[in-house]
C-alpha cells in the first residue's frame, strides 16, 4: 500500500555544470597536490639569462622573468592560491554564516547588533586590516588569509541571515520547536542545511575574490612571501610584461579563471542536485 509517487529515477543524469565543475576543480586540486610531491623543475631555480624562454621540451610553458619554470610555478601557485582562497572562504564563511544564523535565530537587538557589526566590517578597508596584521605578526600568507577571511565575514553574515530569516518562517521549523528543540539546535539541524544553496553560491563568488585579494595584498608585500608564488602575485608581477611576454599574465590568469569557474560550476551543480525543489521540477 505504499505506492509512493516517487518519480522514475532520472537515471544517473548529473547536470553538465556539476561534471564540468568537478573536472576543473579536480584538475586544479590535483595539480596543487602533485606539486607537494613533484614539479617538473625546482620552482625556485632561477636562471636570469634564460628568462622569457619559449616553451620547449624542458620548459613546457617556457620560463618566467627570472628564468624559472612556468609550469612548476603555476603548480606551486595552485597550491598556495587554493590554500589562501579555501582557507579564507572557509574561515570567513563559517564565522560569517554562524553570525548570520545567530542573528536570525535570536532576532531583536542581537540581530541589529550583528548587522551593524557587519556594516563596520563592510566599511573597514581590508587593506588596513591586512597592514595591521602584518604589523603585529609580520607579513605572511597566514595573515593574508586572516585579512581576507575578515572581509568575508560580513558578506556571509548578510547572505545567511537573509536566507535564514526566510527558513525560520517555514512550518517545519515550528514543528521542530514543538519537538522541543532550542534555537541553536534548530539553526544547526534545519536552518543551516536549507540555506546551504545561497551560501554555497556566495562562497564560489568569494572564492574568486579571495584569490585576487591575495594578489592585491602580495603587491603591497602583505601576501605570500617570496619565493612562494601565488597566481595572484604572478599575475600582478606580469602586469608590466604585457607587451614583452604576455604569456606570463595569460597562464596564471587562465588558472584563476579555471579554478574560479570550476568551483562556481561545481557550486551550481551541487545546488541543482541537492535542492529537492529543483529535483522535483526536473
Amino acid at each position: 500500500m505504499t505506492a509512493t509517487t516517487v518519480p522514475k529515477a532520472p537515471g544517473l543524469k548529473l547536470p553538465v555544470n556539476l561534471i564540468l565543475g568537478a573536472v576543473l576543480v579536480a584538475l586544479v586540486i590535483g595539480a596543487a597536490a602533485l606539486s607537494l610531491l613533484w614539479t617538473p623543475h625546482d620552482y625556485t631555480a632561477m636562471n636570469v639569462r634564460n628568462k622569457f624562454a619559449a616553451p620547449d621540451a624542458t620548459f613546457w610553458l617556457g620560463t618566467d622573468q627570472l628564468g624559472r619554470d612556468l609550469v612548476s610555478q603555476l603548480m606551486v601557485g595552485a597550491r598556495n592560491s587554493m590554500a589562501v582562497a579555501l582557507a579564507a572562504v572557509l574561515l570567513g564563511g563559517s564565522i560569517g554564516t554562524a553570525l548570520g544564523l545567530l542573528a536570525a535565530a535570536i532576532g531583536g537587538w542581537v540581530e541589529d547588533l550583528v548587522m551593524r557589526i557587519a556594516d563596520i566590517g563592510f566599511a573597514f578597508p581590508a587593506l588596513l586590516f591586512a597592514i595591521m596584521l602584518a604589523a603585529v605578526f609580520g607579513p605572511s600568507l597566514t595573515n593574508a588569509v586572516l585579512a581576507i577571511a575578515f572581509i568575508n565575514i560580513p558578506v556571509f553574515a548578510r547572505v545567511s541571515r537573509a536566507a535564514a530569516n526566510q527558513i525560520w518562517t517555514r512550518e517545519y521549523v515550528a514543528a521542530a520547536r514543538a519537538a522541543g528543540l532550542n534555537r541553536f539546535a534548530i539553526s544547526r539541524d534545519h536552518i543551516l542545511p536549507n540555506i546551504a544553496a545561497p551560501v554555497i553560491v556566495q562562497a564560489t563568488i568569494e572564492f574568486a575574490v579571495a584569490i585576487l585579494a591575495e594578489a592585491a595584498l602580495s603587491y603591497l608585500g602583505l601576501g605570500a612571501q617570496p619565493p612562494s608564488p601565488t597566481w595572484g602575485r604572478m599575475l600582478s608581477e606580469a602586469q608590466t610584461l604585457m607587451y614583452q611576454a604576455p604569456q606570463l599574465a595569460i597562464y596564471p590568469g587562465l588558472c584563476i579563471v579555471i579554478a574560479v569557474m570550476g568551483f562556481g560550476l561545481l557550486g551550481d551543480g551541487l545546488r541543482d542536485v541537492t535542492d529537492p525543489r529543483l529535483v522535483r521540477e526536473r
Binding site: R116, I120, F124, P125, L127, M132, A135, Q239, G253, V257
Partner: protein, 314 residues
Amino acid sequence: MGYFLLRRSVGFVLTLLAVSVVVFAVMNVLPGDPALTILGLDATEDALQALRDQLGLNDPLLIRYWSWITHALVGDFGVSHSFRVPVSDLIAERLPMTISLAVSGMIFTVILALILGIAAAANHRKAGDWGVMFVSQLGIAIPAFWLAMLLVLIFAVNLRWLPPGGFPGWSDPVAAMRALILPTVALALVQSSVLARVTRSSALEVMRQDYVRTARATGFSRQRVLWRHVLPNALVPIVTIVGMQFAALVTGTIVIENVFYLPGLGRLIFQSIANRDLPTVQALVMLFAAIVVTANFIVDLLYLVIDPRLKARA
C-alpha cells in the same frame, strides 16, 4: 515607520562611532611614523620631533581621540597630516570622482544584470540560459585589474577610441563620460555578473508563482509578463544584493582608480594609509561606513517602495 527611522538613525550613529574607535586604535598600533614618512630618510631627529609636535602626535591617545571626535561632531575632520589641508576639502575634491565612478558602475551593473538575468530566466534551461550562466561565471572569474589592462590595451592603446585613464571633471560632460567608460566596465563587470545570477534565480523563483500563471492566462505576451510581473517581484532579493554591491563598488575603486589614475577616494585612502595620515584615514573610513550604512538603509526604504506588503512589517 517612525520607530524604524529612529532605530536606524541610532544604529547609524553608533556604527560610525564604533568605526572611529576601531580605526583610531588600528592606526595607532600600526608601526609607522607619520612624521618620518613625510620628512623622509634624511630628516634629522629634531625636525621629526618638531613635526610630531605640530601634528599633535605627542599627545596621549585618548586626548587625541577626544579632540578628534568632538571636532568631527561639528563637521571638522581636522587637517590632513600629509596634505596639510582640511580633510573635508580633500574629500570634497575627490568625492565627485568616486561617486561618478560608483554610480556609473551601479547603473552599468544593474542594467546589464537585469537584461542578462531576465533573458536567462526567460530561456530557462535553453541555450540562452546556459550562455548567460557561463558568461557570468567567467565575469566573476576575471580579475578586475587584469580586465582593466586588457580594456586599456584594446580600446585606448590600439583602437584609440577612449582615453587610457584620467578624469577631466564634469565641466566637459562628453569627455567625462568617455573617461568613465573603461573604468566603469572594469569595475562593474564582476558585480554585474553576480547580479545577473541573482536576478536569474530570483526571477525563476517568481516565475513559479501563481500570479505569473494568472498573468499568462490573461493572454499577456511573455515579454510583458516578464517585465510587468516577474521583474518587480524579483526585485526584493536583487535590491538586497545591489545594496551590498554599492558598497563593494565604492571600495573596489581603490584598485580601479590606480589602474586608470583617477583622482578619487580609493586612491586617497590607499595613499593615506601608506602615509599614516590618521585624520584622513579616519574620515575616509567613516565616510565609507556611512555610505555602506546609508546604502543598506536606502535598500530597506526601497523594499517599502517596491513591496507594499512590507510597509506593514517595517
